[in-house]
Amino acid sequence: MPSSITTSHGTGRPPDARSGSPAHDDRLPQVHLPRNEGLPLDLDWVMRAEANTSAIARRVAALPGRRSLKKVHQAAWLLRAITLIDLTTLSGDDTPDRVRRLCAKARQPLRHDLLRALGMEGTRITTGAVCVYHEMVPTAVEALRGSGIPVAAVSTGFPAGLSPCHLRVAEIGESVKAGAREIDIVISRRHVLTGNWQALYDELREFRAACSDAHMKAILATGELGSLRNVARASLVAMMAGADFIKTSTGKEAVNATLPVSLVMLRAIRDYEARTGFKVGYKPAGGISKAKDALTYLTLVKEEVGNRWLAPDLFRFGASSLLGDIERQLEHHVTGAYSASWRHAIG
């Protein structure tokens, strides 16, 4: 790695991999980093943010050709990707047992024999979190007890964010009370679309206060913001308001995570860190279902913000079917034969 920047941030290992600590219960998403406190809304900074769509499209189009991961490196990166997944179920037909099943998969995302074949025995491989609706939080918390895997709750009138403001704020509090360590809130898209950055900031400030010790992941619903410039500006406002993560999408918009949007948000994160010193996490969500795509995203993260972000306290995939494809690719790596989905446990 030629970069002096990335290496200066440390090894980039997730906390578990570094400590090997069995005391997973107290694992917090950002144990080693000062939490983003936010800052007063700086509209000059917000309004100077630009995003040139064509140039951004060229950058992301060229990226997969610029970096290539082969063999053992590919396998290692895919394993890392597993630890970065927010394993998610956000369906109207979720039941407690369905959520328990998912939590079991989160604890044990990869077959034992594959882990052994990859030489990863003794290294705890779990997903980054489990992400559910509020009603399922207690079930998930219970099912994950002792695993160190945090429960994330989508909140604030997810996915549209149009329920009464006080109810949205109250919803956060309820989920925190129920044991969610991370709250995935949705912003009011109308504030972005009407250029009311102050309103967006105020709303997010209020959400952040309601989150208290839980971490706030701000969903920008980038597919509904109209332009990459708006994505850049909304990202900055969210971080100024104290977001711990910025996240692309609910998964329910017509367009969810894309590479251009990711590039814009990662650049905003880099800009914010350069000016404030706070590292804010990034979560692309929706539409990332292939192992190959996951590698491209991780490459983009490594290239744009550095290795430190390749850890669950600063990066998550919001995905439900990605894990299955990674499992198949890892089995292929181990056996040399292409795999089948039914060979891997479902969640």
Partner: protein
């Protein structure tokens, strides 16, 4: 490395492309290659080696063509020319299409071979060079198909001698061969001695594509082989891409030979970043601008001009980005910067940085570098003044030189403060600003919010000392065609000698010259009497000298900018007005012409001149550019820009029409003109300035000199502030002009001892418009 280690480090690891097939191809030829002449390879010799610059290992032994072999190649091309040119466009299209498909089918082999031979990252040869080469053949297959219907008045030139550089070996080959073949020419191509292998593989593809014997000939060797091609009498056209120094030599060597010439030379292209740009994208664009192909790119964005208020911010983002560039084995798929082409080149770049770097602040990231091979780290030198050596001289390596500017005007001034004029980038989120700046830049190609975009559909080429001619697009076809026209011999026309007993009548009239809108006496203080063939003294005309030329060029330069900015409609209005005022004095002009020439067609000439003024008045607002369909979200705007200051030697035989025929297209297209009037019959031109004075022509837009053409031609051609010289003089000054024009590599248009019937349609039209304009391709990506 175990999975566990990598899981912790998250390193990329090696991703090497396998060179086995390419090496096998070389081994299949016993590692030795002959020349490709008349459809087959000559027996190979061990004249010189081709090396892999990343490792220093020898790849193959190559043959350096002898004069006899070059003769044989040219003879083969000459024999093949007639039948090839007579084939239907469709037949040629099928063969070009086959070449495109064969390049695609052998894409990997070509890419690996290119990287082995040149040192460029495999990503670039795989994703850029080879696909663009295929695209060029496919595009020109289409041009061959359409030639008969769309270019019925154009004919191929004949045998083209093509000399290409080592930075894009296959791609430059494609840029040269595809349009030449499409238009019915045959070629003798010399690849650079460092990088001949892909051309030799291409020769095999020509065999597979059933390119007729002799249509494509490839001779290898160093500069001396290039010189043989340039000097060869049986070659009709030279196309060269390479250094400005060699381009200048070729200009001199071909002067007066009648060979058509296009030159694509060096550059020091500005990369202008305004405060409202997307800074991160501008930084990423720099990666493509100056670290693409190790900066060994003629159009590399090598001069970074940043608006002062954001300079610090931009430089810090840029430095962070540079830290993530990976330098190393070009065959590794995750490498951004490979090897420079040769130790000589590496030494040159190092020496320049060592010599000039201290004038600014040198930054090189702490990147891991291979221990051997021709590698140079990405380098930024900021804080340079425009006067710094490194801001002026082309480095041709991964070295970016930076300075700041204050305003739009400042940016344009610094950007244009260069001998070169190849390419430019403009970064601003405000398209008002970007589209205002782009056409003001002295560059044949401008990328708005982008860098180093290429496509066969858009012309590429420069101006000033970056050369002349375009490759690609409709505009590129004129480099390989000529108008279908009968060649008429040029008859030298001397002034009427003074009679033994002359007669004069009326009040003495001494014509002056017309410079900067004023009637001016000749600097020399000498005049020449103009006699009619019947021995009547018609008047005196000044003998212009180099100082008159100088004064006229200064006046023209002052006037040109604002004239170019006038609308086409206004230029047309003024041309109509000139015609109107000439018409009012038609009888007088006709009488004058008849008196000078002793012929009786004066009125026909005047009427033709009036019609010609109408022609260019019509064209003034109709010579539209093109909107090229390039593969981006956006378009490339092919703008017809004025050349600038055009100096012209008007035809001697048509005293008024010769002047009007060069003046009208020049000024219609926004140029300022310095015109030497008919040498034997100057008085129609000097009468004509009175017409100009009454027709609202702004001062300096047209300047008229009288005197001996051979006295003024060299000054015009050598003048560094003249952008083009045309000669239709009956004195064949072609060699003198083309030789002197090598100084600033201005465009020339000379008659090569051929005459033109000015009274016929051959005296006007698109050919004149093309010579009066530069095609500037402005790439405008868009998207929200």
């Amino acid at each position: 490395m175990t999975v566990k280690d990598i899981f912790a480090s998250m390193d990329y690891g090696p991703a090497p492309e396998n060179p086995a097939e390419a090496l096998q191809w070389i081994a299949g030829h016993d590692g030795r290659f002959g020349l490709f002449i008349n459809g087959s390879f000559t027996p190979p010799r061990n004249d010189f080696a081709s090396r892999n610059p990343a490792t220093g290992t020898e790849l193959a032994r190559l043959t350096s063509a002898t004069p006899d072999e070059v003769d044989a190649a040219v003879a083969a091309a000459r024999r093949a020319f007639g039948p090839w040119a007579r084939r239907s466009g469709h037949e040629r299209a099928r063969i070009l299409y086959a070449l495109a498909r064969l390049i695609q089918k052998n894409a990997r082999l070509l890419a690996v071979l290119e990287t082995l031979d040149n040192g460029k990252p495999i990503r670039e040869s795989r994703d850029i060079d080879v696909p663009l080469a295929a695209r060029h053949f496919c595009f020109h297959a289409g041009m061959a198909q359409l030639m008969e219907s769309e270019l019925p008045d154009r004919a191929p030139l004949g045998v083209a001698g093509q000399i290409i550089p080592w930075n894009f070996p296959l791609l430059m080959l494609a840029w040269k061969i595809a349009p030449a073949l499409a238009m019915g020419n045959t070629v003798v191509l010399k690849p650079a001695e460092y990088t001949s292998l892909s051309a030799l593989l291409f020769a095999e593809l020509c065999q597979q594509a059933r390119v007729p014997k002799g249509v494509v000939n490839i001779v290898t060797g160093a500069g001396n082989v290039g010189e043989m091609i340039v000097a060869h009498e049986e070659i009709d056209k030279i196309a060269f891409t390479g250094s400005t120094e060699v381009g200048r030599k070729i200009r001199r060597a071909t002067a007066g030979s009648g060979k058509a010439l296009t030159l694509e030379l060096g550059g020091k292209s500005p990369y202008v970043v305004f405060e409202d740009a997307d800074l991160d994208s501008a930084v990423e664009g720099l990666v493509d601008a100056i670290w693409f192909n190790q900066g060994q790119v003629c159009c590399a964005g090598s001069r970074l001009l940043v608006q002062e208020g954001i300079a610090e911010d931009l430089f810090s983002r840029l430095k962070a980005r540079m830290c993530r560039l990976r330098v190393g084995d070009p065959l590794d798929k995750s490498i951004d910067i490979g090897a420079l082409v040769d130790p000589v080149q590496l030494e040159r770049v190092r020496a320049m940085v060592a010599e000039g770097g201290h004038e600014g602040e040198v930054f090189q990231p702490e990147c891991s570098m291979p221990n051997e091979g021709c590698f140079h780290p990405p380098t930024l030198i900021s804080g340079l003044a425009p006067s710094a050596m490194l801001m002026q001289e082309e480095i041709f390596g991964p070295v970016l030189c930076a300075t700041t500017f204050r305003t739009k005007a400042d940016a344009i001034a610094i950007a244009n403060n260069t001998r070169y004029g190849l390419a430019a980038s403009v970064w601003s989120e405000n398209l008002n600003r970007a589209l205002d700046v782009a056409p003001a830049l002295a560059a044949g190609v401008v990328w708005v919010n982008a860098s180093n975009l290429f496509d066969a559909a858009a012309g590429f080429g420069g101006l000033r000392e970056s050369g002349f001619g375009r490759e690609g697009g409709w505009e590129g076809l004129s480099a390989y065609t000529r108008p279908r026209r009968k060649r008429l011999p040029l008859k030298p026309l001397a002034p009427v000698p003074p009679p033994e007993a002359g007669q004069s009548e009326g009040i003495d009239r001494t014509a002056k010259m017309f410079i900067g809108g004023r009637q001016t006496r000749p600097d020399s203080g000498y005049s020449r009497a103009v006699w009619s063939p019947r021995g009547r003294l018609l008047g005196h005309a000044g003998l212009g000298n180099r100082k008159d030329v100088r004064n006229a060029v200064e006046a023209a330069r002052r006037a040109q900018g604002s004239w170019a900015a006038a609308t086409g409609a206004l230029k047309g209005q003024i041309l109509y007005y000139i015609a109107e005022n000439l018409s009012a004095r038609a009888d007088e002009f006709a009488t004058r012409i008849n008196a000078m020439t002793g012929r009786r067609n004066g009125m026909h000439e005047v009427e033709t001149a009036i019609s010609r003024l109408f022609t260019y008045a019509a064209w003034a607002d109709k010579y539209d550019g093109l909107v090229h369909d390039v593969p981006i979200r956006g378009k490339a705007l092919a703008m017809h820009q004025p050349v600038g200051v055009i100096a012209a030697l008007a035809a001697d035989e048509a005293p008024l029409l010769g002047l009007v025929s060069v003046m009208a297209p020049a000024i219609a297209m926004g140029n300022a003109a310095v015109i030497a009037a008919s040498e034997p019959y100057p008085l129609a031109a000097t009468d004509f300035y009175q017409v100009l004075e009454t027709s609202d022509v702004p001062a300096g837009v047209v300047n008229i000199l009288t005197g001996r053409h051979d006295d003024m031609a060299e000054t015009m051609a050598a003048h560094m502030d003249v952008d083009a010289v045309w000669s239709f003089s009956s004195t064949d000054l072609s060699a003198l002009i083309e030789h002197a024009a090598a100084g600033n590599l201005k465009r020339t248009w000379v008659n090569n001892a051929a005459a033109r019937d000015w009274l016929s349609p051959a005296g006007e039209g698109r050919d004149f418009l093309a010579h009066a304009t530069e095609v500037q391709n402005i790439w405008v990506p868009w998207g929200e």
